[in-house]
Symmetry: C2
Subunit: 262 residues, 2 copies
Amino acid sequence: MIDFSRRNSPSSGPLGQRKPLGVVGGMGSLATAKFLELLARNSRAKRDQDHVPFIALSLPSISDRSQAISNGSDAPLLQILERAHWLEKAGCGAIAIPCNTAHLWVSEIKQALSVELINMVEITRQAISASRGREIHNLRSIALGTSASMQHPLYVRPSENGFGKDFIQNLKQIQSDTVKIIDDVKSGNLNDSQTNLMRVIRSARSFDPDLIILSCSELSAISGDLGDDNDIIDPIHFLASACIEWWMAEGRSSPNLMTNRS
Amino acid sequence: MIDFSRRNSPSSGPLGQRKPLGVVGGMGSLATAKFLELLARNSRAKRDQDHVPFIALSLPSISDRSQAISNGSDAPLLQILERAHWLEKAGCGAIAIPCNTAHLWVSEIKQALSVELINMVEITRQAISASRGREIHNLRSIALGTSASMQHPLYVRPSENGFGKDFIQNLKQIQSDTVKIIDDVKSGNLNDSQTNLMRVIRSARSFDPDLIILSCSELSAISGDLGDDNDIIDPIHFLASACIEWWMAEGRSSPNLMTNRS
């Protein structure tokens, strides 16, 4: 369970309402839409008015995260912070970033913000431990993601998992196929991307892992019902649930602010 | 072709970038996510950085539009205007509202804004005329939507269409089934909603209309590939395309601002 104790005043959001969720979008744009879809689908709202309020700032000119990581540049961090600060100033009560790779800078982002960063990677790790009764590093896991998140694993380092020599040889192909799918999603070339993702997952499954983690939100954007499979971990689902939980917890802590005032 | 000539300065958006699209969301939340998905899917962007920038303000406490229309209240108009003005002040260069029923107040909204309102109903009418070579009122059309948009038709008045007595008798059932589907989508009760929508569409098709218009964006949120069918008009698709066209046109008119500066 994430700790939402670090709170600002729950009121004084935009238009005198409760502080909404702030979403740093555009990494990429389809993944942002998918996250907002999950936020709506999973909110258990009975009517429009009960859904989680948000401001999504999607200025997608943020430098390529993988390129920056590979060049040792922190240009994306500064651009992500600019956007997160903008949302904070706009009156948001917490920030969510539906991009796994951006979480490589999670400590810096958390430190720079005065409101809660709802940390997708931390929440996903907690959810795995809770459901499996074991920490992620004690499970045989394969993470599929960008080249940056493979170079600097967010969830698990593949070589630690004892899949053996045969796996390490195949991993390169799995990784390059995954990067190709991510590029296809970012460029709207979606026709075969779902089929290609299924092929990569079949290839990963042949090594009988406990978990396959979709550690790039572009994969989540095309994952369909894959997250229902027992061995698939789709972090963006956990992020959406945690954001809904945050919103409900804020309401409970200030019952007179349970409904928006407008 | 919509006229995007009424422009403010294209720069001076948030964080010194080109003015992004402003989206008044939350009517409902799933429809907002669907609109943003279409904006991403149809943008012909080659990479993250080329997608249409936007700020989505989704404070869903806006009063029920259908109830207000039926009570003669304009409470939703004032709340929609508050949000649109907030987006304008935040530096947005145009406003989109992915909710058909909200367009019952389109004149008032247009008049109150200093930036362009990308009018979903107007764009859809234009798209129908362009593709069919006839104005919508010269086509046999059935619009499926909220009780308000049936009471005050946005696109077409069913009795004008000459479907005959049998149709008018069946229309009440089609309407009440549609309202039930919309309520299901708003409350996250999505399991049967797509099947129920298909049943309503089959029923409407039995009267051999030229067009069936999904005149509530909640229907668009669950329409899947229905928009590919020749007789189905899905206005949210036209809104997304018009927003992309607006963004491209703004870039062409200020070539030195074609890429975001950050």
